[in-house]
Amino acid sequence: MGCSSSVPARSTGGLNTINSDASSATDSKELRAKLVLLGDSGVGKSCIVLRFVRGQFDPTSKVTVGASFLSQTLALEDSTIVKFEIWDTAGQERYAALAPLYYRGAAAAIVVYDITSPESFSKAQYWVKELQKHGSPGIVMVLVGNKADLHENRSVSLQDAKEYAEKNNMFFIETSAKTADNINQLFEEIAKRLPRPTES
């Protein structure tokens, strides 16, 4: 899998949960967003997040364990600050029925497949349909073809994926968690698409 093995670093956050709730109301520039990861097991869901979190952050920040839950803050050019809380889900078929517990209330969903695996692409389409039916209204959905570094083994064409994404009004991008290609672009794009608080 394309995800290096060093221990991930992550945001120290520093925000007490109750504080961050209180402050998000007063400071309209800070957005808290729950982001859920869906996709077959082995497509590199957690690697994408680790790459994002590790690549961005101060290496002196605290080390966490595991990558099933990570949070990361991203500052946008318009000076909005987005704090992502990223929820990973188990991708094995037998756990598919549990996903609604995780994507409930999510502001964004990343649906990941592996460009070398057609099965994982069908699975991704299944998740897209799921989210359209049961996700929060207005959820930002993104389709991600991971392992782009393995293009010599590609079996899902860029064109097919692009067309599918367009048809479903999704942002689409191919990434490589291994080389970090497009990882930041992915999260910046999601941050831009998040609905802003209406007041100001």
Partner: protein
């Protein structure tokens, strides 16, 4: 943990809880004390209705937290102090309301029993492979540590403390997975690795009343504090519960017939044990009564016998849940569980004329709380540790998971002597009704510690301590203990 874990780790540290109680004792807090008491009394007088109850508590906590912000003794406090005041309030209120709201409706009680039964069947044959746990991540011995954390859930009454047991369990799993990934040069583990292990650990731990515990956390943990990382891991255990409810052949990659057969034989095994143990119970009781009139004259000895008898009955109870399923008395393949062996031994002991001698080397067995001196504490604690280590090692050697009866019977001595129901840790009356042998200081230990994997040793020494005793000052005020309602 960080994020959600941050507030989790620090805000009701023992000192914070102490501070909350201190401030509540100040004259300027009199109004708060009055509102809290009146809320508790009003609430306790209503019939249980989980949805309304939860909404009422959430609203009360929210309002009070708002009021703390504006009034002495909290006015001008930092956000952190206010946060820990909120935690203190939640803990106090929910400890008082625990008996009233925990598993308070028949549906919850029934679900608890069904889930417990299902897990006690599944745990007999489920394998890590059935859940897609890769070989490099399989480590059943270390998972026992995670099971232990989850099994502590019934030792606490405050929602936060119960939630901490869940989070500590998750943390142990995460640590183990991370270590395994480093060793096997795998990618850091994500949910694909984590959730299956959590499900496996939950089934093996099978803490009684898991369903009610999770509902209780969901309903009574202040919603603004069940967010972020804590919320994520709590969602994971909810999803583990949901998966377990729905387990069938397919979800374990088994042929459906095969699955049914395994469930049936697991059930027969349990029923065999329970039918058998009931006989033994009866026999033991009869024997105990016969003998009472005969040789054992010293009061102290009959105390010991009584508590042993209770113990035998207590551990039989779990098994008896199955007894509404018809027992055909089929001879079934016997696999001895710890409680099985224990019951056998107890029955034999009660028939043993040398009973006195057998217990001679255990000086504290016949002691009453009042007999103990401060100097005894250390040797008592040492004996306790030895006992626990031996018990756990024996259980491990037998290849079965140690049952919680030991932890339960290791409660304050008053329980062993005075309680009729050793199996029920949740029983509030017990801690309220019995003369208070533990003093305020002990309660500083009464929260699950932020976990450090090396505390596995420590885990065995933790006992459940009830925070109730702390609130002398509040209790003195008015006759409003919810238990009296």
């Amino acid at each position: 943990m960080e994020g959600g874990g941050d507030s989790f780790g620090s805000s009701t540290a023992p000192l914070a809880w102490h501070d909350f109680l201190e401030r509540m004792r100040q004259p300027s807090a009199a109004e708060f004390v009055k509102s809290i008491k009146s809320f508790i009394v009003t609430f306790s007088n209503r019939a249980p209705d989980p949805e309304k109850d939860s909404a009422a508590v959430q609203e009360f906590l929210e309002n009070m937290e708002g009021a703390f912000r504006a009034h002495t003794p909290w006015a001008g406090s930092s956000e952190e102090e206010l946060e820990s005041a909120g935690e203190g309030l939640e803990k106090y209120v929910m400890t008082k309301l625990f008996n009233r709201v925990f598993a308070s409706v028949p549906e919850d009680v029934k679900s608890d029993e069904e889930l417990f039964e299902k897990m006690s069947l599944l745990q007999q044959f489920i394998r890590p492979e059935n859940l897609d746990i890769k070989p490099e991540y399989q480590n059943e011995t270390s998972w026992l540590l995670a099971q232990k954390e989850l099994q502590k859930i019934n030792m606490y009454k405050a929602p936060r403390d119960k939630l901490a047991c869940v989070l500590n369990c998750c943390k142990v799993i995460n640590n183990l997975l991370l270590n395994a990934s480093v060793v096997s040069n795998e990618n850091p583990p994500g949910a694909d690795e984590f959730l299956p292990v959590l499900i496996y650990v939950t089934i093996k731990a099978n803490p009684p009343q898991l369903h009610s515990n999770l509902l209780y956390i969901q309903r009574y943990r202040r919603q603004t504090r069940l967010v972020s990382e804590a919320q994520y891991f709590f969602t994971n255990i909810l999803s583990a519960e949901s998966f377990i409810w729905n387990i069938d052949g397919e979800s374990l990659s088994m042929n459906e017939l095969d699955f049914q057969r395994k469930m049936d034989s697991a059930r027969e095994r349990l029923l065999g044990l329970s039918a058998d143990s009931e006989n033994q119970d009866n026999q033991a009781n009869l024997d105990a009564q016969d003998r009472k009139s005969e040789n054992l004259k010293a009061n102290r000895n009959s105390d010991a016998r009584l508590s042993m008898k209770d113990h035998v009955q207590g551990s039989g109870q779990d098994m008896r849940r199955d007894s509404d399923v018809t027992v055909d008395g089929k001879p079934v393949e016997r696999v001895q569980s710890i409680s099985d062996i224990e019951k056998k031994g107890a029955a034999e002991l009660l028939n043993d004329d040398e009973l006195n001698k057998k217990f001679q080397e255990y000086p504290f067995l016949f002691a009453r709380a009042g007999d103990l001196t401060i100097a005894d504490v250390e040797s008592l604690l040492n004996s306790y540790k030895q006992l626990v280590l031996r018990y756990v090692a024996l259980a491990q050697g037998m290849g079965v998971s140690p049952e919680t009866t030991l932890a339960q019977s290791s409660q304050p001595p008053s329980d062993l002597v005075g309680s009729e129901e050793p199996e029920n840790v949740n029983d509030n009356e017990k801690s309220e009704g019995i003369s208070k042998t533990s003093d305020d200081v002990i309660s500083e230990n009464d929260r699950p510690e932020a976990l450090d994997i090396k505390t596995s040793e420590k885990m065995t020494q933790k006992t459940a301590v009830d925070p109730n005793d702390d609130l002398e000052a509040l209790k003195d005020e008015a006759p409003c203990q919810p238990e009296n309602a």
